[in-house]
């Protein structure tokens, strides 16, 4: 072993790496291979064992394989060697290997080697394809060159004669498997620079194919032999240079052979590669954007290779040709769409778009040549053709044909025609958002969104999928949905914070250009501006609160917009990545959507009319109170009130209630009795803490004090209070009215503190009542509606008026462990329809159990008196 030689080699290599890392060595890969070659050459030249073997008639060749063979091996890549003998492998080779390899191993180099004779080597190459591909890249370093050339000749002739089809088949299948195992590098947060789809292996595959097919020697030959066009070759060289550089730096900072660009190294690498913060875009995002462009190009290289392999050999992939296309100017050859000739394109530029439509409809990919033609003839897509309605229609149709397995939009993006149609989209291309949340560049994310919207056409799978399907089918204007999906993030071109707002502004003229009418443009602008509102509300607001859904319904305003917004939100979140979309978020979003939909369908709170009414009331309340309180104070108070209350209660009363509430100050309740003009009725407004049974207790106390309730409403008031309004007939004895009210107030205090205080009052409720209306009085009826509201169980009671009626019903509700949140009680002559919005006391939600509902119904019916008709003679008398 020659330590000096090894030291020289290590030193030279370190100097070279140092020069490369400081940016002074553009030819690093070539020189790196040369330094290694030099080491092997020197060891071979000085080795006595080597000389002995040659003298003894067993000469050998030292051959570089794989990446080292291609002179493309990076700082910590493996060094693969083949020591090749013609026939006999002498035992002395062991000693030689010690001289050759031990110093490298001691220096912690990853060296792989094989010692074989020619026949062994050929046998293994055709048995194991990983060996075969390394031999395709074999390069002679030193020793007996004749052995090397002899072997390579034999290898090539055997390959062409016996193993061609098999080998190509392997290349194809191995490529597919690799893409499956490593994923699409342009869609991964930590792309694999070597093995992923878009990684270096895609270039190797084309190179190997060209070596197998035409025996090319170097990368340069790819153009000379017509595998790539001149421009493609230039782009390939640029892409490889960049990716190799990144890979070398990655090896350098990880101090090992690391080909996965992990998230945590990305910022450091961007700095090392000289990226700087520019145009408000962080260096790392600019670095990743450039990288994605390169990876994207390698993906195209892969498609070229795959297509050529398929074209050369009809392997496994189904040999049936498609039926011919009906589009004049297009042809199908070798399972790919082609333009019949370039003249056709010049004459009919709309073919540039029609080819994508046909591709989407028939699921036939464009040939590489067709892609080249689209890219090179983009100038034909001028303003005149872009404004042509028929042309626009084709584009709209293409949008609905973009699927995951077969995505026409991605091909349109790769050829540049998508940007030609929507120049604003260029700003999104390869735009990276550097975080764990956003997995894809904005352009890919947007296209994925369109894809996902298309996937809603399929309803198989989970129940939620069938919901998307059903909502999607209800969307009348699907073009709006597709276009907003594609353009919802268009505002990200400007790294300002509020991309939704910016996006809406940028998108408006695009929609107008594409011939959408003013309502459609308005819808689209709304959807883009608010595309985050549903997901934000679902994850950050209390969706079990009716007010959240009511707020949402008001904000969105129209059912058709809610439907589109929901689907857009689902697609957007799914297309963002697993951090943004999982079962958890899916459920929250679904819940909010269904609840908001419920508010719309019920109409009571979400209609334009009710919104106008609320706005008017709010203004009036402010006007009434502004002398006493600041406007923002009143506004805050009004915001905390349920919409239902604002719809049903007049401004004058609301102002009174706010005053009442302000005087509550820690007491259990406070009430105010007012006399209505020209009538004998008293209105009692009671503000109190929201305690179970409160409403029932008031009704009981009034009954106990012979105060006859004519009508009543109950509302929640802010987070923790209630506002109950009763219309009551005053006590018969007017002289002591004040005292009577005071007594009632005292009773209510007792009732609140003692749950059984009102038990005696229950006994006074009549067992039977006689009614005179008609011959056959209607029986007591309790109807339960559990569908109309997502938040409450709605109970309607139909009966005849009697003293203690409201107490009787609400007491049953309270004893059945429900809380009355809203009540609307009114008497018409003697017929009564009372409506209660109740929630279970156990979970503060509507009552889902059928059994419980039946029990509640039974309890109410049992509390009501038996109804009988007054006898006719009685009536006459």
């Amino acid at each position: 072993m020659d330590k000096k030689n090894t030291d020289i080699f290590i030193k030279k290599r370190e100097t070279l790496i140092g020069q490369f890392l400081s940016g002074d060595e553009p030819e690093f890969l070539e020189k790196h291979a040369f330094v290694l070659d030099e080491y092997f050459f020197t060891v071979f030249e000085k080795s006595i064992t080597a000389r002995k073997m040659t003298m003894a008639g067993t000469p050998f060749a030292i051959i570089a394989l794989g990446g080292y063979g291609r002179k493309e091996h990076c700082i910590h890549s493996d060094i693969d060697l083949l020591i090749l003998f013609e026939k006999i492998v002498p035992p002395e080779v062991e000693a030689f290997l010690q001289e050759l390899l031990y110093p490298l191993w001691d220096g912690r180099f990853e060296v792989g080697y094989a010692v074989r004779n020619i026949n062994e080597c050929l046998e293994m190459a055709f048995e194991r394809f990983d060996i075969l591909t390394t031999i395709l890249d074999a390069r002679f370093i030193c020793g007996a060159s004749l052995i090397y050339t002899g072997f390579m000749e034999k290898f090539r002739s055997d390959l062409a004669a016996k193993h061609l089809k098999h080998t190509l088949n392997y290349l194809y299948e191995h490529g597919e498997k690799r893409h499956f195992d490593f994923g699409d590098s342009t869609y991964l947060i930590a792309p694999d620079l070597k093995s992923g789809f878009g990684g270096l292996r895609d270039y190797h595959t084309l190179l190997w194919y060209a070596k197998i097919k035409s025996g090319i020697k170097t990368r340069r030959d790819l153009e000379y032999y017509g595998f790539l066009s001149h421009l493609e070759y230039l782009s390939l060289t640029e892409s490889l240079t960049d990716i190799w550089k990144i890979r070398n730096f990655l090896h350098s900072i990880t101090k090992r052979k690391c080909d996965t660009l992990y998230f945590e190294y990305q910022t450091e690498l961007a700095g090392l590669l000289g990226y700087r913060f520019k145009n408000r875009q962080p260096d790392v995002e600019r670095f990743l954007g450039d990288l994605h462009k390169r990876l994207d190009f390698l993906k195209q290289i892969n498609q070229i290779a795959f297509e050529d392999i398929l074209g050369t050999t009809r392997i496994g992939k189904g040999t049936i040709e498609f039926r011919p296309t009906k589009i004049d100017g297009l042809v199908i050859k070798k399972r790919r769409l082609h333009f019949s000739n370039t003249v056709a394109v010049l004459q009919k530029p709309d073919l540039l778009l029609k080819i994508f439509l046909e591709s989407g409809l028939r699921k036939i990919p464009l040939s590489i040549e067709a892609r080249r033609i689209v890219s090179e003839f983009l100038h034909l897509v001028d303003d005149e053709i872009k404004n042509n309605l028929a042309f626009i229609k084709i584009f709209k149709k293409i949008m609905s044909l973009s699927y995951w397995e077969f995505n026409v939009l991605n091909v349109m993006l790769a050829t540049g025609i998508l940007e030609k149609l929507i120049p604003e989209f260029s700003a999104l291309v390869n735009k990276i958002q550097y975080n764990h949340y956003h997995l894809f560049p904005v352009d890919k994310h947007s296209i994925r969104c369109v894809q996902i919207i298309n996937s809603f056409k399929d309803h198989s799978g989970s129940a939620t999928k069938s919901l998307y399907y059903s909502v999607f089918n209800e969307v009348r204007n699907k073009n709006i949905l597709f276009f907003t999906a594609l353009l919802h993030d268009i505002g990200k071109s400007d790294p300002a914070k509020e991309h939704s707002k910016t996006g809406a502004k940028i998108a408006k003229p695009i929609f107008e250009r594409f011939g959408f009418n003013s309502t459609e443009v308005k819808d689209a602008v709304f959807l883009i501006e608010n595309h985050l509102i549903l997901i934000k509300t679902a994850t950050r607001r209390d969706i079990s609160d009716e007010e959240t859904a009511v707020y949402m319904a008001h904000k969105i305003g129209k059912i058709r917009l809610l439907r589109m917004l929901y689907l857009l939100t689902v697609a957007d979140s799914q297309a963002t990545g697993p951090k943004a979309w999982n079962e958890w978020t899916e459920n929250l979003l679904k819940d909010l959507f269904l609840k908001t939909m419920g508010i719309f369908k019920k109409g009571e709170l979400a209609s334009k009319k009710s919104q106008r009414l609320i706005d008017k009331r709010k203004k009036n309340v402010i006007r009434l109170l502004k002398e006493k309180w600041r406007e923002d104070e009143i506004n805050t108070q009004l915001e905390s009130m349920p919409k239902r209350y604002l719809v049903h209660v007049p401004a004058q009363s609301i102002a009174g209630h706010i005053k009442l509430y302000r005087n509550l100050k820690g007491k259990d309740f406070i009430w105010q009795i007012s006399k209505e003009n020209n009538s004998d009725i008293r209105t009692v407004s009671i503000c109190g803490k929201d305690k179970p049974g409160f409403y029932s207790k008031i009704a009981g106390v009034f009954f106990l004090n012979n105060l006859d309730i004519i009508a009543s409403q109950a509302y929640s008031f802010g987070e923790e209070h209630v506002m109950d309004i009763f219309k009551v007939k005053p006590p018969k004895d007017r002289i002591f009215e004040k005292e009577k009210w005071e007594k009632a107030q005292e009773d209510l205090v007792h009732a609140i503190n003692d749950d059984h205080f009102l038990d005696n009052a229950l006994d006074k409720i009549p067992q039977e009542i006689q009614v005179s209306s008609g011959k056959n009085p209607k029986p007591n009826t309790v109807r339960i509606d559990n569908e109309i509201s997502s938040f409450f169980t709605i109970i309607e009671v139909f009966t005849y008026d009697f003293p203690g009626l409201l107490f009787s019903i609400t007491n049953s509700l309270y004893r059945s462990h429900t809380n009355v949140n809203v009540a609307m009680v009114a008497t018409k002559v003697d017929q009564v329809v009372d409506v209660f919005y109740v929630k279970s006391l156990a979970n503060d939600a509507k009552i889902e159990s059928e059994q419980e509902l039946a029990l509640i119904k039974k309890a109410i019916l049992e509390s009501l008196p038996h109804i009988t008709a007054k006898e006719m003679n009685n009536e006459k008398s």
Binding site: L467, W584, K590, D591, S790, N843
Partner: protein, 112 residues
């Protein structure tokens, strides 16, 4: 040292995070979890089809604090997560034997 695990309503996360950072607790693990508790799931009806939400989405916040800071931390979480309604969640407290910071090897409360 004690580990405090709080299961809270999703929309209360920001409040809890903020309240904890106000008392100087910044590090926490947050997980999206599904609850199957007293607060049952529910069903919604759309176009005649039933959609069941059979679990309740919740957030789990985990922190580890020194024994002295336990009461303060628990009280802070409780106040921030409280809406006075059913389903506000639960807080679990358990002893922690040891904490080691991977980078420096520091142990005990120093590693918190």
């Amino acid at each position: 040292m004690k580990k405090v695990e709080a299961i809270i309503k999703p929309f209360k996360l920001d409040d809890v995070k903020e309240a904890l950072s106000e008392i100087g607790i910044y590090g926490m693990t947050v997980t999206e979890v599904n609850g199957y508790g007293r607060q049952k799931g529910h069903k919604e009806i759309y176009r005649g089809a039933e959609y069941v939400v059979d679990f309740v989405p919740k957030i789990k916040v985990e922190i580890v604090v020194s024994d002295e800071r336990l009461d303060e931390a628990v009280e802070t979480i409780r106040n921030a997560a409280n809406s006075g309604k059913i389903g506000d969640g639960k807080i679990f407290i358990s002893p922690v034997e040891q904490v080691i910071r991977v980078r420096t090897g520091e142990t005990g409360t120093e590693a918190l």
